[in-house]
């Protein structure tokens, strides 16, 4: 898209609308994932969707593909109002989504996967010969060469994607939405995929390309839409954009969210947590950092950059290949969460429902689960002490519930998150790892949690903060480390940190190389 971009865009504008979103809005619980999104995707173009983690790109893609239903707003496809109840409905209109995780049947052949559900069959008996002929035609048409009989589980990720693409075309897809298709590909493979995508456009397919890799997006797409906090910032021809401009659009002029005034720990504050050369092949490499008493260290980076993996390894939830962990200068052996708890390290996991709480049990039971030995005599739970301790924490954290006996799944997301905090503060830890501590909660609870983290640090706790909201990391952390591809690529202290610099480092744009470590 170097010289002809503007002209191409003009031509594209003359072509008809393929998909149009009008005021599309989507809520997840109390969180608004999409707010009045208006978007036009033109036929025979490659349309990029970019934005920070949680900006709503994937949600929008899923709504267009019928995997999610909008709570408000309309979807127009081929100039007709479309109300999809399932991906099947969208497919009937020629729209299909290739998700981040491949959805193939691993133990069956490429041929079977491509024609799954649309087999040539007579009286239920599969007509292999016809299917093979169709497969040959299909492969010739889109210039994708794959052995028909290979088992898909033996294929590399790039080839599995090709199977998905073939499957989409075989079903007559006129629009293919690809969600982060290159995140698991090598540079070469990604380039080849771009070639395929361009050929698909030539034969008349519309492509929606969702990606974190801004350079790739600009090199490939005709039009790009920037999303931020579930809203469309702008849609413009790719030729008019640069990675830097996109990043600025993605962060925006942030609405001032009041964060408490940072209190930096004194320079002689004792070192509480020290991590040396933490590595696990394929996940992260040589990660080293320290946190002092009273310090909040932010771990920034994109999803998949290794933030959570590092945190889980420190907590003993996942194994590590190498690395030493010290608490107060003493080497500790951490091979399970149990060891970490004993050493005074706790972790609020990123997935509250999947990893944090036992939903059908009470607040009190969840709060005391890691600390039962402190509220029991000879294995019998002292329910009075448990109840009092839980009530105290519920009061100080402002958990709104009927009482300590209330079941977790009767609480709102914000209150559940506060219970999760109560669980890890029942016995004061030395180190608190908070992974996405404000995910899926309302604005009021977000602020309360931010203030809590601030207060805990001020009281001398060492805090490791992970958040997809860069604003939050910037607003709370005393120092920030940026991870990319499992390595620490930049670090910022109180004087050098800025939203642009952190994002540029995370996205690896040119500005980052200049201001890098």
């Amino acid at each position: 898209m170097c010289s002809g971009g503007v002209i191409e865009f003009a031509i594209a504008a003359a072509q008809d609308f393929h998909v149009e979103a009008r005021g599309v809005t989507k809520w997840f619980g109390g969180v608004q994932a999409l707010a009045h999104v208006d978007l036009v995707i033109r036929r025979r173009t490659i349309h990029g969707l970019v934005g920070e983690n949680g900006a709503g790109k994937s949600t929008l893609g899923k709504i267009i593909a019928g995997a999610l239903r909008p709570d408000a707003g309309e979807l127009w496809v081929n100039r007709r109002r479309a109300t999809y109840h399932s991906p099947r409905d969208a497919l009937a209109d020629g729209i299909t989504l290739i998700a981040q995780e491949p959805t193939l049947v691993p133990h069956r052949s490429v041929l079977e996967n491509v024609f799954l559900g649309i087999e040539d069959a007579r009286l239920g008996i599969v007509d292999t010969r016809t299917m093979r002929r169709r497969y040959r035609d299909l492969v010739a048409e889109v210039h994708l060469d794959l052995p028909a009989d290979a088992l898909t589980r033996t294929l590399r990720v790039a080839d599995r994607q090709k199977v998905e693409i073939l499957r989409a075309i075989a079903r007559g897809a006129e629009m293919i939405i690809m969600d982060e298709p290159t995140s698991a590909l090598t540079t070469d493979e990604a380039q080849r995929l771009f070639g395929i995508i361009r050929r698909l456009r030539e034969r008349g397919t519309t492509i929606v390309f969702i990606s974190h890799f801004l350079e790739d997006v600009l090199a490939l797409v005709d039009t790009v839409t920037v999303l931020r906090d579930g809203r469309v910032v702008r849609t413009s021809p790719a030729a008019e954009e640069t990675p830097e401009r996109l990043v600025i659009g993605m962060i925006g002029r942030t609405v001032e969210r009041a964060f408490p005034q940072k209190v930096f720990p004194p320079p002689d504050a004792p070192m509480v947590l020290s991590v040396r050369n933490l590595s696990r092949s394929g996940a992260f490499e040589n990660v080293s950092f320290e946190i002092r008493a009273g310090e909040i260290l932010g771990l920034a980076g994109l999803i998949g950059s290794g933030r959570t993996e590092v945190a889980r390894a420190v907590f003993g939830a996942d194994r590590r290949d190498t690395g030493e962990i010290r608490i107060d200068g003493t080497l500790v052996r951490i091979r399970s969460p149990r060891d970490a708890l004993r050493a005074g390290i706790v972790m609020l996991p990123e997935d509250r429902k999947g990893q944090g709480l036992v939903l059908m049990r009470s607040i009190a039971e969840n709060v005391t689960l890691p600390h039962l030995e402190t509220v029991s005599h000879y294995g019998v739970v002292a329910t009075g002490r448990e109840r009092r301790g839980t009530l105290d924490l519920m009061a100080s954290l402002d958990v709104r519930a009927k009482g300590p006996g209330a079941q977790i799944n009767t609480l709102s997301g914000g209150n559940q998150q506060k219970v999760l905090f109560a669980k890890w503060l029942f016995r004061r830890p030395r180190v608190l790892i908070a992974d996405e501590a404000t995910r899926g909660v309302d604005v009021g609870t977000k602020r309360a949690i931010n203030e809590l983290l601030h207060r805990l640090a001020a009281e001398g706790m060492a805090v490791l903060l992970i958040s997809s909201e860069h604003e939050e990391v910037l607003g709370l952390a005393h120092r920030i480390l940026v991870l990319r591809g499992g390595r620490i690529v930049a670090s910022f202290d109180g004087h050098t940190m800025s939203g642009d610099a952190v994002l540029h480092a995370a996205f690896a744009t040119e500005a980052a190389e200049r201001s890098g470590p």
Binding site: Q32, A317, P337
Partner: protein, 331 residues
């Protein structure tokens, strides 16, 4: 596209709660409602039903299945499944009988040895499922086949008869008008109920079944807890086995066929979820009694036995469907 759109928030959709609350009530207290309903119906329809003799007899007959159901409840709550208790009960009966006849052990020790054999098998199941990582369904199916096989080997396929009348004290003895198996059932229920509701072990059992990952990240030793539930289930199979052998004064390799399914039926009827994390001992006690009451009622009302089977099957399916609906609507 403009950036500064007026932020008119569209309210999140609110779904009605009445239907799901209704289902939740039926799911949580269905067994109580059904139990009371059937109890009232039978009391009115049959003059004999409410007699002390009939009710005691009911509890006596339900006791072995009831004991197994209690052990199985712990396994279910921790997210497991145990198909081996029937085989375990046959084996435990053989051990108790042989120990009583063939060794100098007294009656008490012989019966205890039989029950402890069940505990041993339970520990084996636990290890197979946790350390061996074999799916609980398959693991306990496999051990059931093995145990029956070994039982045939050591008995040569013959009945082990105990000529000494004293052997029947546990199964057929009566104290204060109450059959001994009822005491054992009650004692085991109180013990396991206490373990589950009041101790740290009980808390861990619920957590492990309710959300294994959350439990692990809370420092709970998943394997140990799961294995312990299998051990207790094995023990319950052992206890039920010696009671049953004592009742008939004989033991054999193919004794108590299919009894594990009756125990599972009792657990599920009681309302303990097969998906783990939820349930209680009292539920399975009620479930076992309910199951026995159906049989008893059909007999008292002179309904053909074949319909009994059909009826049991239908209410079992209903109980599980209610569980599934309750979960789905709660999402």
């Amino acid at each position: 596209m403009s950036t500064n759109r007026e932020s008119t928030a569209v309210a999140p959709p609110i779904r009605g709660l009445t239907r799901r609350q209704r289902i939740a009530v039926v799911r949580d207290y269905g067994v109580v409602i059904a139990f009371l309903g059937l109890f009232a119906t039978l009391s009115i329809a049959s003059g004999v039903f409410m007699s002390k003799a009939n009710l005691t007899n009911l509890a006596f007959q339900a006791a072995p299945i009831g004991i197994m159901a209690i052990g199985g409840t712990l396994v279910f709550i921790a997210g497991g499944f145990d198909l081996s208790v029937g085989a375990v009960s046959a084996f435990a009966g053989i051990i108790a009988a042989k120990a009583f006849i063939g060794t100098g052990l007294g009656l008490g020790l012989a019966l205890t040895l039989g029950a402890l054999t069940g505990l041993g098998f339970g520990i084996g199941n636990g290890l197979l499922v946790t350390v061996g990582r074999v799916n609980a369904f398959i693991a306990t199916l496999a051990t059931a086949i093995i145990i029956r096989g070994v039982a045939i080997a050591i008995t040569g396929g013959f009945l082990v008869s105990v000529p000494d009348e004293r052997f029947t004290i546990l199964g057929l003895g009566v104290t204060g008008g109450i059959n001994h198996p009822i005491f054992v059932w009650l004692g085991f229920a109180l013990l396991c109920g206490f373990l589950l509701s009041r101790t740290t072990f009980g808390r861990y059992v619920y957590a492990v079944g309710g959300n294994p990952e959350a439990a692990r990240l809370s420092g709970v030793r998943l394997g140990l807890i799961r294995a312990a539930t299998f051990a207790l289930s094995g023990l319950s199979g052992g206890i039920a086995g010696v009671i049953l052998a004592s009742e008939v004064q004989t033991a054999q390799a193919d004794a108590n066929p299919g009894i594990e399914f009756d125990a599972i039926t009792a657990i599920v009827l009681g309302g303990t979820s097969i998906l783990g994390g939820e349930g209680a001992v009292w539920r399975s006690v009620l479930g076992a009694f309910f199951l026995q009451m159906i049989g008893n009622g059909f007999n008292l009302l002179n309904v053909q036995v074949v319909y009994q089977q059909v009826f049991k099957g239908v209410i079992l399916a209903t109980a599980v469907a209610l569980d599934a609906w309750g979960r789905q609507t709660r999402e």
